[in-house]
């Protein structure tokens, strides 16, 4: 047998070439690395990550995706986490996976209002995102649209662009907001007024209203302002009954391979420089008390905010969604 194997081995060696060429270049040392899972849009995370790299010399490895997708992945990798930081995702989503995260307190936590923070610091907020109403400026008289109650009227029956709350996290936040601002009755009346029509993604809400297919829509302030700045026929209304200002957040994973760098990143996202840029570049509201709303945003004091109970919402998510879905079905009939 040996006699037969030897020539085969030689041949194999020849055919596969002579192995690797030269030594590998010096690798990036582990202490200079950070793995970030982010559900933010590229125009949001790109400048932040880059600036972080330039300032710290840390190489950031990014994994992008939808927040639910990334959280699922984090759950699967729980035993041996690859990621250090989950950057993005509404705090309700983060709240539902809070056991994955290591409670950490960022350096500037005193500058952040307690209403926006988690009591145990499982996550830290990144930016505040109020739910707003939008309308097509050419088709709707702004006098007739001041709050949630107006949407329940026959005028807007079937004319409301709203994304399916089971598919869109921001839509679910909107549902929860109406529930807490006006009570269950108004919320269900609103659901029935959709006439059974719900959109697949929150992006479609703006497109449909801007295109005139629907008259009004419910979405986040950030996206609405971006589209307005881009010149669409849109205007936004802060509901008079009150709205929520649920932040999205950042969290450090338990057993993160690069924990120190993760903490540094966490601090960086809450630094003045980043928080100030949120308003000026992304139409997002800073979560820092000492960062004033930029010129692009109406002052937060102009908004009536309801007490939004994140814990209650995330605990009753299933119930809320079921009731909503039933009401929507009713409205279709």
């Amino acid at each position: 047998m040996r006699k037969r194997i030897l020539p085969l081995l030689i041949l194999a060696l020849l055919l596969t070439g002579c192995g690797s060429q030269g030594a590998r270049q010096s690798l990036i040392p582990e202490e200079n690395r950070l793995v970030v899972y982010t559900s933010h849009k590229e125009e949001v995370y790109q400048p932040i990550i880059r600036e972080f790299e330039e300032r710290t010399g840390i190489w950031v490895e990014l994994v992008t995706g939808g927040s639910n997708e990334l959280l699922d992945r984090l759950e699967q990798e729980q035993e041996a986490p690859r990621a250090d930081v989950m950057f993005g995702g509404g705090v309700e989503s983060l709240e539902s996976c809070r056991e994955l995260f290591e409670p950490v307190r960022c350096t500037d936590y005193r500058r952040i209002p307690a209403s926006l923070r988690d009591a145990q610091d499982a996550w830290v907020p990144f930016s505040a995102l109020p739910v707003v109403l939008i309308y097509n400026t050419k088709l709707v008289d702004p006098a007739g649209l001041t709050g949630w109650e107006d949407l329940t009227g026959p005028k807007f029956r079937g004319e409301i662009a709203f994304a399916d709350p089971t598919k869109s996290a921001s839509s679910f936040t909107a549902v929860a907001t109406v529930l807490q601002a006006c009570g269950e009755e108004t919320a269900l009346a609103l659901a029935r007024n959709l006439a059974g029509e719900q959109l697949d993604s929150s992006g479609q809400v703006l497109t449909q209203v801007a295109g005139g297919e629907k008259l009004v829509g419910i979405t986040l302030e950030e996206t609405a302002l971006q589209r307005i700045a881009a010149g669409d026929n849109l205007a936004l209304v802060y509901p008079r009954e009150g709205t929520s200002c649920v932040p999205d957040g950042t969290a450090v994973l338990k057993n993160a391979p690069h924990r120190d760098n993760a903490l540094e990143f966490l601090d960086f996202t809450l630094s003045r420089a980043v928080q100030e840029m949120l308003g000026s570049r992304f139409y997002r509201r800073s979560v820092r008390e000492d960062v004033g709303d930029s010129d692009t945003l109406p002052g937060l004091d102009r908004l009536k905010l309801t007490d939004y109970d994140t814990l209650w919402v995330s605990r009753n998510r299933g119930d809320i969604l079921q009731k909503w879905a039933e009401a929507v079905k009713e409205g279709a009939a």
Binding site: L14, Q25, E51, R55, G57, W59, A273, E276
Partner: protein, 565 residues
């Protein structure tokens, strides 16, 4: 083990195939690999040379920023004007133009005050303000007088600057402003074009973010991939390009050069295909060569096998034509000789058998008639007795006894029977020769039972009577027997004429016996030798004192019991 079970032809073919294929395969593989490695190394060396030139060009970037900044800092007017915001525009602008004279073909230079407001620019329109807590100005402030280099966020947008190099201008009392160099795609063209041939250049920042690519898709597609491989700690490697990465330490930028692989996977595939075609050709050639050769070996073998088959079927006339002189020719020749010898052998055997058969037939015939003779002789005996002719009666009686003895079926008889018959014969001869000789016998009694072939003594004695003592009166014939070395010796001695000289001693020969007319002696000798082998037979010698003749018969001692067994 299995290999040996195949026919010789197949093995020969396989061996030839292997011995021609293996070197070819090894050779092809070696050539392909050596050429591939050689070309890859050459490409790397080439790229290393080019990248050295490109790095020198990048040095200019640093020189531009550092030297311009130094000249501006040296000028108190400029520093003061930036710090206080007051001063002659013309004067500051001319200072700026002066300081950046050598490099304005490359880039746009902007002067920012400490708040990040762009005050002066070498370009027609003043650039937008920059935040001091973000990006290049923040970096420059942190670096404290050392230039920093920031890549554009969107390298695809060639209308904006691809690289911002910022340096803080410092007076004694701290920061007064910043000098920012904006490098556009055109600047990179001026800087790098002509420094590389047959390759693509990609400029990356410290963290492998794209800055500039000699082709637009490089920054879009290649740069993220390079960054990924970098993060994985691998070297960029694909079948189509050779990569060379150099770090430019002065600016922290990374230069990536790539050159199409001369030896792409397709080329390797092509070469291996050519190799395989060669192998196929090789198989054909070796088949063409080995088939006739193996036929040359197999054909004579098959012929030989056929010949053996025919021999087995008893065709002994089989011969193989010998048409060559090599080992196979010799083999065929030997075979022919062997078959020839076999056929001669068989012929002899057949002849012997035929002779034996004839002898048996003759004996049977000989046995048939004598009965009637015996009866006749008996009649003769009675007639002569009636007529009172006692001699005729005795002769007839003796002759009848001898005849009966002769035609008995027994081949071997005890010695005493032989002696009895011999006495009958002597009696007849005595009547014939008028009792002219004496006959004596000296036989020990223990030898009486020895078996001897029938009628061997009578011819010897007859020979002595007819030739030995003929015409000699008072002659004697003696017969003796004894045992010697396990053999029975019987001598018949006379005191007659003796044998002629030339007959003495020699064992009896067929032709000689016939020639001299001693048919009796010959026959006895023949019977003895045929029965007991060549060590037995007759021996002729002169009698005692050279008188007369002596015939000695030698035969093995056998007793009656043994034969019956």
């Amino acid at each position: 083990m299995k290999f040996r079970n195949h026919s010789f032809r197949k093995r020969l073919f396989a061996a030839m195939l292997l011995s021609s294929l293996l070197p070819l395969l090894i050779c092809t593989a070696l050539m392909v690999q050596i050429t591939r490695l050689r070309m890859q190394n050459k490409a790397r060396e080439d790229l290393a040379g080019q990248s050295a030139g490109l790095c020198q060009s990048l040095d200019i970037l640093r020189d531009a920023v550092v030297h311009s900044a130094a000249r501006l800092t040296d000028s108190e007017t400029a520093i003061h004007a930036l710090g206080s915001g007051v001063g002659s525009r013309l004067q500051i602008n001319s200072l700026l133009f002066d300081a950046t004279d050598s490099w304005r073909n490359l880039a746009v230079f902007d002067l920012y005050d400490s708040a990040g407001v762009c005050r002066y620019s070498t370009r027609g329109t003043v650039s937008q303000n920059l935040p001091t807590d973000w990006g290049v100005l923040y970096g420059a402030a942190q670096a404290g007088g050392e230039p920093v280099y920031y890549a554009t966020e969107n390298p695809a947008d060639t209308a904006s600057a691809l690289l911002l190099a910022g340096v803080q201008l410092r007076a004694e009392d701290g920061c007064t402003g910043y000098l920012v160099m904006r490098l556009y795609a055109a600047g990179f063209h001026v800087l790098l074009d002509g420094k590389y041939v047959q390759s693509d250049v990609l400029v990356l920042n410290k963290f492998f973010r794209p800055v500039y690519g000699s082709q637009t898709n490089l920054t879009q597609a290649l740069a993220p991939r390079l960054r990924e491989t970098m993060l994985r700690g691998e070297l960029p490697e694909d079948g189509n390009y050779v990569y060379y990465i150099a770090n430019h330490p002065a600016t922290g930028l990374n230069l990536v050069l790539r050159q199409p692989q001369m030896f792409t996977a397709r080329t390797v595939w092509l070469l291996y295909t050519a190799g395989i075609l060669c192998v196929l050709a090789c198989i054909c050639v070796s088949a063409l060569v080995s088939l006739p050769l193996s036929r040359q070996i197999a054909a004579p073998l098959e012929k030989l096998m056929g010949a053996f088959d025919r021999v087995q079927q008893d065709k002994l006339e089989t011969q193989i034509p010998v048409d060559r002189q090599d080992e196979f020719g010799q083999l065929a020749e030997r075979f022919n000789q062997m078959v020839h010898a076999l056929s001669i052998n068989r012929q002899e055997l057949i002849t012997n058998q035929q002779e034996l058969n004839q002898a048996q037939i003759r004996m049977l015939q000989a046995q048939l008639n004598p009965h009637f003779l015996c009866n006749t002789l008996d009649t003769m005996k009675w007639i002569s007795k009636i007529n009172k002719v006692p001699q005729v009666a005795m002769m007839a009686t003796n002759l009848a006894d001898i005849l009966r003895f002769c035609i008995s079926a027994d081949e071997f008889v005890p010695l005493y029977r032989e002696l009895e018959i011999l006495e009958r014969y002597i009696e007849i001869q005595k009547i014939r020769l008028s009792d002219d000789f004496s006959f004596r016998q000296y036989i020990p009694e223990e030898l009486y039972d020895c078996l001897v072939p029938k009628m061997i003594l009578q011819p010897i004695v007859e020979n002595a009577i007819l030739h030995g003592i003929d015409g000699i009166s008072g002659s004697t014939i003696e017969i003796r027997a004894w045992e010697e070395g396990g053999s029975l010796k019987i001598t018949v001695t006379d005191n007659g004429h003796g044998f002629p000289e030339d007959m003495l001693g020699q064992p009896y020969r067929r032709d000689e016996g016939l020639a001299k007319g001693h048919l009796g002696l010959y026959n006895v000798d023949m019977i003895l030798r045929r029965n007991f082998g060549e060590s037995c037979g007759l021996w002729l010698s002169p009698g005692d004192g050279g008188v007369g003749a002596r015939v000695t018969a030698t035969l093995p001692i056998r007793l009656e019991e043994e034969t019956e067994c």
